[in-house]
Amino acid sequence: MTEPSRYPGYDVLAKRDTPSWNAKTREIIAQRLAVPDAPRFFSTEEWPIADALCRRILPQTDEADAVCLVAQLDAKLLADHGDGFRKESMPYMGEAWRRGLAAINEEAKSRHSDRGFAVLTDQERDTLLLSMQRGEVKGNRWARLDAKTFFERRILVDVPALYYAHPKAWNEIGFGGPASPRGYLRLDGNRLDPWEAVEAESGDEHHAERDNGHVV
């Protein structure tokens, strides 16, 4: 994304030691930010496929502070931290991911002269993913896992949620973030507590940036 920040200078982590963050929140966010950038659930073969997938589902091209979503996905699957149920036609979450990544890679190879998903161009990856979303992929490689269901019920459920669980995303959309025990005194959308993100108005970004430096 090349848009300028709507909430310039807002950093939800600046509130970490304010009454908006209780100890448990500090603990779990610290864990989230410390997730190791290495496979524990995924195999070394699965990791680059999953990484390439995450980078297309939630692109953070050239962003220095990009969130490593494949690491977050690996941690989620390792902890089996999901919704628990399965549709009759689907396996449970971890197995669905293993089958899904294998099928995506085989689909890529069959379409692109044996090049795996991880080495496709962004355009080629998006085309493949879109055909999954539209239910247009067929063949034996999808016999044990319906591509459209996997795309809609696993990929789109699991991957974007990892990004919007991250403080970077909260800064981007101007979300107040953790709010415990301190919540909010001013409930109106256009009346802000001092610990809320100020949205920039065109031509007045400096004002917003100054206020966002003091969200305490």
Binding site: L58, D83, F85, E88, A179, S180, G183
Partner: protein, 561 residues
Amino acid sequence: MNTTPNGIMGMSSDPRQQPRATAGRAPDIFRKGGWVPMREYRESEAVDFVIVGTGAGGGTLGALLAEQGFSVIAFEAGGYFRPMEDFASDETAQNQLYWTDKRVLDGPNPIKMGGNNSGKAVGGSTVHYAMVALRFRPEWFKSRTTLGYGADWPISWEEMWHYYAIAERQISISGPLTYPWGPKRPRYPYRAHELNTAGKLLAKGCEAIGIDWTETPLATLSAPHAGPEGNSPPCAYRGFCRFGCTTNAKRSALTVWIPRALAAGAEVRDLAMVGRIEMGPDGRATGVQYHRNGGWHFQRAKNVVVAGYAVETPRLLLNSANDRYPDGLANGSGLVGKNLMTQTNAAVWGRMDEPVRWYKGPPSLAITEHWNYDDNKDFYGGYCWMGQGPLPIEWMSVLTGARGLWGDELRSAMLDYNHMIGVKMVGEMLPNEANRVTLADDIDQYGLRVARITYAWGENDKALVQHSLEQMGASIQAIGAKDMFRQEDDTCHLGGTARMGNDPNTSVVDADCRSWDIPNLWVCDGSVFPTVGGVNPSLTIQAIAIRTAHQISKLAAAGEL
């Protein structure tokens, strides 16, 4: 006590790993690190009531039976959380409150399980409910007779009105001075909460299309509370209600009923999964097999109350099948697990020029019940709609689920987060025996067969949703919402898998929640609903539980237990 090879007792204080209600004490959730004394019963002692589940049904009934002097053990498969210490202010981490054990979904319209419809914690799903505390429309208690659909309840609306009033007082509901729909009701005990912008815009939208709205009656305090169960502060408008309230302003079974149950001598067994109800040769239940601390145990009981909600309740009754009852317990009618209902939860969303910032405050501060009380429509049933305040991950799931967005489109759409509004229905779905809970072959972590949940929408359900989408859409279009879109297939609360009635052939339990087949086996939760109505069910479940407690005291006095 059986232990695992690793020795459970040495592990961390994670309430999901280690029981906390032990050694004669239970957590005092109102004081950090505090404890309250707890009476404990021997497994060989046949207690008056074993209650399976501690939510809106089981928690309420447990407290009231203990206060009558009965010996009570309340079993809970989930952990005993201390909200002020254990709850993070975070959508993802608080997934810990939902029932995420294995389940199999099938049918044309599988019900998405999780935060919208299940809980696994002391207090059940009330720990993460949105606190919306509504009464049924009176006619719904005789919907077959008066409105021509569904099934009649065996209880009159006048009697339910009496129990609703008790429930509202004891839970300290915050609500409006006068309620626009239905027969007169008493003033709500606490004043209504201030509206956030999402609530004000709902009101403006309703006025624009000429229908009434009001402040939503909510089970969160609008002023300090001091009661026998403990002291709670007023709501701090954190907006994380559906992820657990860290201040105890929320009035849940965990903050209202469980402390009363403990004070009255009930025992709570947390992290105790009941897997089977045992039967004696005399046709009465003798107690329950339950899993705790790594092994199976048997607790004797004079009465067993199942209060696990509309999936786990029938699952337990079916998993308790034996030679005498091969189709499961209390299933002479064949209706255990059948007539599962969810409620439609469709929404219309749009973007406002002005900032809304719906993350502040409880999500549903304003409501219209207009279409619950207006019968000028060509389908059965009703619905309400409420203002919304999804946090980022929930909002993202609307954009991915309803619009299929991903990639740059998704990130770009998410930038409008602080300008979005939405109105979302709670809609009545009709009972249908083909919608049901049965047993799947999958096995869960306790070695028990899991629930298979089969669901299909009927034509009436679809017509009701379409009507609501048009009405909701008109209301926010009239106030300037832009780029509107519909979320059509979401669902929320459950009911119906052990319905109550007047006839043993067409119901599982009687009006007192007592099973027709086994005199000392009861069901007390949303499973007993013959119809679900177009409002959130928690207040009705609690009113039914209060009534059941009163009926049990009468039956006991008459020697009829």
